[in-house]
């Protein structure tokens, strides 16, 4: 078996569904990209929210956990940015990635979008996404979720056959109701309690964390090892990486612009959004989307004006707030009102 270019992190990601055409809400999509043996890049968008498959749809509102208000007098966060001990390295990588994006990646992606008709782009996206379903299936099984695994299997079978090898996503149509959901080895590790480790921003990978980055490596080998030809061929992997990457960069463009155009510090904004979103995904994986156990109300938001601890006399200005997005996004060093 030939495994020419080991293209890291290329085979794992499901392409997202077409982005909403009009309303681009910042912070919904996060970019990523992958460098393949020095020449190939791919930009990924973050997985879309898990489908609320077991929820009662319109009424999927979490009941407030009674008496669980965690408004405690929180201590001041440590000065360094929580979850980002590698910040100097990450910032340097972010700068390099942005420069490359501006000069090469974005223009190429916009060109791809301009030249290739929309139906063709959707078809390619669907095929690539369909090829990730076996990995989703594997992780459904690893998480001991047979119901989900069966749905993933059914989805893969329908789309691979009636969907003409994945060109058409017929499985998500109302009759079948088997929409794509993301599930990676990183998700499985998180499901079993492995923490994210330090935040990472890597050129051509994008925002990630140590757990998810390491866990994504073996996923690239599943299809080449399990199926072999043509997935282990450079003539498949390189075009796939280039086209998939350009497509995902193009699809993410509106959201990225919305996110960065109002950011004072794009690096910190992207990190914050990525980490908060990842926490939300892991929570949904553990507890299901129907009953989100973390209520946004569970963090205290204290007005600095009514906070004696924040008085400059009591607390020197050195103790600036650090981005506390990791476990308690909104807790001020405060009395909790």
């Amino acid at each position: 078996m030939t495994l020419p270019a080991i293209v890291p992190a290329l085979l794992l990601i499901a392409a997202p569904d077409p982005a909403p055409p009009v309303v681009s809400l910042a912070s919904l999509v996060v970019p990523s990209a992958v460098l393949a043996d020095g020449s190939t890049i791919e930009l990924q968008t973050l997985p879309p929210p898990l489908p609320a498959e077991d929820s009662d749809e319109a009424t999927a509102v979490a009941p407030p956990p009674e008496g669980t208000q965690s408004v405690t007098v929180a201590a001041e966060r440590p000065r360094h940015d929580v979850g980002d001990p590698l910040q100097p390295f990450n910032r340097a990588m972010f700068g390099a990635h942005e420069a490359f994006d501006k000069a090469v990646l974005r223009p190429a992606a916009m060109g791809y979008k301009h030249v290739v008709p929309k139906p063709a782009r959707s078809a390619i996206r669907n095929v690539l996404s369909n090829l990730t379903e076996p990995i989703v299936f594997l992780n459904d099984l690893l998480q001991l979720k047979p119901g989900r695994a069966i749905k993933t299997f059914g989805r893969f079978v329908f789309n691979s056959t009636l969907g003409l090898g994945g060109v058409l996503d017929i499985a998500k149509l109302p009759g079948l109701k088997l929409p794509h959901h993301d599930n990676s080895f990183g998700d499985t590790l998180a499901y079993y309690g492995v923490g994210p480790g330090p935040y990472l921003f890597l050129p051509f990978v994008g925002p990630t964390d140590l757990r998810d980055f390491l866990a994504s490596q073996p996923e690239n080998l599943v299809l080449p090892l399990a199926v072999g030809h043509p997935f282990d061929q450079a003539k498949y992997q390189v075009p796939k990486a280039v086209i998939g990457g350009l497509d995902q960069r193009a699809e993410a463009d509106q959201d990225l612009q919305a996110l960065f155009s109002t950011a004072v510090d794009p690096y910190a904004t992207l990190r914050s959004v990525y980490l908060q979103n990842r926490i939300g995904e892991v929570q949904a994986l553990k507890h299901g989307t129907a009953k989100v156990t973390i209520s946004p109300l569970d963090t205290s938001l204290s007005d600095p004006l009514s906070n004696p601890l924040a008085d400059p006399a009591a607390s020197p200005p050195k103790s600036q707030p650090s981005p506390p997005e990791l476990d308690d996004p909104l807790t001020d060093p405060a009395t909790g009102k």
Binding site: V61, D265, S272, Q276, P296
Partner: protein, 199 residues
């Protein structure tokens, strides 16, 4: 036997929105924001960014507690900032918020907002959950945290996908500028961004 509770839930789900909108002032605040957003989406590109900003500005002033959101985003160092700079920060934050909405909600293709009738209350705050329904894309969960101020329920934080807090994101966004250049640097940054966005 099982049919009865199910039927009751179904009826409640249908009947509740009207009831809740009439009764919960927090829901009314969100309704007015969502109506305003649909309006500028319909106004679309024809209205221009400035036109949409002029329309949504007063809506945002009524729905959001911009001064409190500014203080929360800045954090405890707020109290060590000179009053004139505090004023400038609040108006820069407002300008930024208006520019953000006017820039992002710039066209209409059948979207609608669904406001969940159930309102969570905790520690003086309320949480209203909404869904942005997009016939051409994925639905997006948007939740609002509200706090009472001067008799009105005003938004103090917005959560995308129920997990991404706008205040938490802004705190991260502001921290570096604040610690390096203080309030004045942040004001300059915000105003430059808003100007670039056409606000």
């Amino acid at each position: 036997m099982r049919m009865f509770p199910l039927a009751a839930v179904a009826i409640a789900a249908v009947a509740a929105p009207v009831y809740a909108q009439a009764s919960d002032p927090a829901v009314a605040t969100i309704q007015s924001l969502d109506d305003g957003l649909i309006e500028i989406m319909r106004a679309g590109k024809a209205a221009g960014e400035r036109g949409r900003a002029a329309k949504i500005g007063p809506v945002i002033d009524r729905a959001f507690d911009i001064p409190l959101m500014t203080r929360l985003a800045v954090g405890p160092s707020w109290n060590s900032i000179a009053p004139a700079d505090q004023q400038a920060l609040v108006s820069a934050f407002r300008r930024m918020t208006v520019a953000q909405y006017a820039g992002n909600f710039d066209g209409f293709s059948g979207q609608s907002f669904v406001i969940a009738p159930q309102v969570e209350s905790r520690g003086g705050d309320k949480l209203v959950r909404t869904t942005l329904k997009d016939p051409h894309g994925e639905d997006v969960a948007i939740a609002y945290r509200l706090r009472q101020n001067g008799g009105a329920w005003k938004i103090i934080d917005v959560f995308y996908k129920n997990s991404i807090s706008q205040i938490a994101t802004r705190r991260s966004d502001f921290a570096s500028a604040l610690s390096k250049g203080g309030a004045k640097a942040l004001i300059a940054h915000l105003n430059a961004l808003a100007a670039k966005a056409g606000g």
